[in-house]
């Protein structure tokens, strides 16, 4: 066997292997295509102007028959995510069925459905009483659109289409977080002062101080959260992004500093009362008197 014969045999083998793999690919492709052809194409979309979990939402579903067979559409269902339903204390929108006359989708036929999720009955004042809403984590959730169909004479089948939708807690939840943070801070400061300050104040005074501090802090936190939500470039002493209830608590904990900062931004000078929550000075301890330093004449030159 000479070299040219070996080369021919090798090239023939390569060619055969290539042809075999191409045939196999075509077969696999045909099988995959056939399985795809047996299903209707379902597309879902939404136009979301308000991402709040309590806002109204429209979900548009489009079912197209791109197969070569006639398809009977039984019903279309929309399943909202569990966290969404828990926060709103409601159910998914009811399933929709096409009209009897338009149940049969011929090849190329299209049916459109509109699901309206009404606004949740989330009152601003009572939002704090809904723990699921307070614990709602902002993010991208899956909305599942389930289409029940039948390719006669086969039985009823279903196909799921997942739609990614972003939800976030309503502004009221963030404000309630701020209030909770301010209350925590007031409780901390007043308890600390009550326990450590000498002479000790009466309990009534401590409670009144706590209430005043909580109210002032809550207002500061609420203003800061609303500004952060609506305005860009707001400068605060703490760099924080408020997205949920716990972010609101953080703002509430810094409500005094934030209050001072906001006051300065609004009116130019910071107010000195109420006093910042600095820890009280410890009680004087009896110790040896240090030597008195020699008096220094005051300098007349202006400071740097």
């Amino acid at each position: 066997m000479n070299v040219s014969t070996v080369r021919r045999a090798a090239s023939l083998a390569v060619g055969l292997i290539g042809a075999w793999s191409a045939t196999l690919t075509a077969q696999v492709g045909a099988v995959a295509l056939k399985s795809l052809q047996a299903l209707p194409q379902v597309t879902a979309s939404t136009t979301q102007h308000n991402r709040s979990v309590g806002a109204a939402l429209d979900i548009r579903v489009r079912v197209a028959n791109l197969t070569e067979s006639d398809i009977t559409l039984e019903k279309v269902e929309v399943f909202m995510p569990g966290e969404f339903l828990a926060a709103r204390e409601g159910g998914s929108p009811p399933a929709q069925e096409p009209k009897p006359s338009s149940k049969l989708l011929h090849p190329g036929g299209v049916q459109a459905f509109l699901f309206t999720v009404p606004p949740g009955s989330l009152r601003w004042v009572t939002q704090w009483a809904n723990p699921q809403l307070l614990a709602f984590v902002p993010g991208e959730y899956d909305v599942v659109v389930r289409t029940h169909f039948q390719v006669p004479p086969a039985g009823v089948e279903s196909v799921d289409e997942t739609l990614k939708v972003s939800f976030e807690p309503p502004l009221g939840v963030l404000v309630w977080g701020g209030v909770a943070g301010a209350v925590l801070l007031a409780a901390f400061v007043c308890t600390y002062r009550y326990l450590r300050q000498t002479p000790r104040t009466t309990l009534t005074v401590a409670i009144l101080q706590a209430l005043a501090l909580a109210a002032g802090g809550a207002v500061s936190a609420a203003v800061a959260i609303i500004l952060l939500d609506r305005l860009k470039g707001v400068e605060l002493p703490v760099n924080v992004t408020v997205k949920d209830f716990y972010g609101g608590i953080v703002i509430g904990l810094f409500s005094y500093k934030i209050g001072d900062s906001l006051y300065t931004q609004f009116f130019g000078t910071a107010t000195e009362s109420p006093s910042p929550p600095t820890p009280p000075s410890p009680a004087p301890v009896a110790r040896a008197t240090p030597p008195t330093p020699a008096p220094v004449a005051p300098s007349t030159s202006p400071g740097p």
Binding site: T72, K103, L104, P107, P152, P153
Partner: protein, 251 residues
């Protein structure tokens, strides 16, 4: 009440009690089938045709036990099942799918014909509605929807009694024969052309079908209730077809 009469009363009571379950069991399927039929109609109206067809199939199986007692129910069920299948076959556009339902409709229509054939004249008279002519017309439609015109010739040729055929079925048979052998539609104007008529009757694969048609038409025109002029016209047509068919080899 004497002891003897009391014993007779007890025996009668026992006899009645023993027949009660039989009567109830005979009544139950009829009620169940009637309910299924009503449900199937509702489902068809709601657009759930395939579900309705499955329900009708199930009900048909149940009626085999009660057919002798509920002729009207059996007739209605057979007719509804066949009609629903055929109607669904007409609405579908995909050939394998509509052929499937047309075949089912054909099977049900043949069941109707076979059932009707088995009825005694007295039972036929008992029927509230006699729809055998509609059924034979539907049978031809089902054959055509199946895309198998030869089946139409076969089915109509095998109809056990020519009186089962109505004018619609006869007309459908004839118009389908005109499409033989290439199964292309022929307009009514073209049918008036004697040359085309000869050519169609003398097509190799169709001559025998024309002969069967002519014989049936002749028999049908003699027994079916027709006006005298119409009967004469039908008999003339049958005779003419036979003559043309006989002379075909010489053409």
């Amino acid at each position: 009440m004497s002891w003897l009469s009391f014993s007779g009363f007890v025996q009668l009571l026992l006899l009645l009690l023993s027949t009660l379950p039989v009567a109830v069991s005979a009544q139950y399927p009829a009620t169940s089938v009637a309910k299924s039929l009503a449900q199937a109609r509702q489902l068809i109206q709601a657009g759930n045709t395939t579900e309705a067809l499955a329900l009708l199939d199930k009900a048909l199986e149940e009626t085999t036990e009660i057919e002798s007692e509920n002729l009207d129910l059996r007739e209605e069920l057979l007719f509804e099942a066949a009609g629903a299948n055929l109607e669904f076959a007409q609405t579908l556009s995909n050939p394998p799918q509509y052929r499937f339902y047309a075949e089912k409709a054909r099977a049900r229509l043949l069941d109707y014909v076979a059932w009707f054939k088995g009825l005694s004249p007295a039972n036929v008279n008992k029927l509230t509605r006699n729809r055998i002519e509609t059924v034979t017309a539907f049978l031809g439609n089902a054959d055509i929807r199946m895309g198998d015109q030869r089946k139409l010739f076969e089915d109509y040729g095998n109809i056990p009694n020519v009186t089962f055929l109505g004018p619609d079925a006869i007309e459908l048979w004839k118009s389908t024969l005109y499409t033989c052998p290439n199964w292309q539609p022929v307009s009514s104007e073209e049918r008036g052309d004697p040359k085309l008529r000869r050519r169609k009757i003398c097509s190799d694969t169709c001559t025998e079908d024309w002969r069967v048609y002519a014989s049936t038409l002749e028999e049908w025109a003699k027994v079916f209730y027709l006006r005298a002029t119409v009967r004469e016209s039908k008999l003339r047509d049958a005779k003419q077809i036979k003559q043309i068919a006989e002379h075909c080899p010489q053409l």
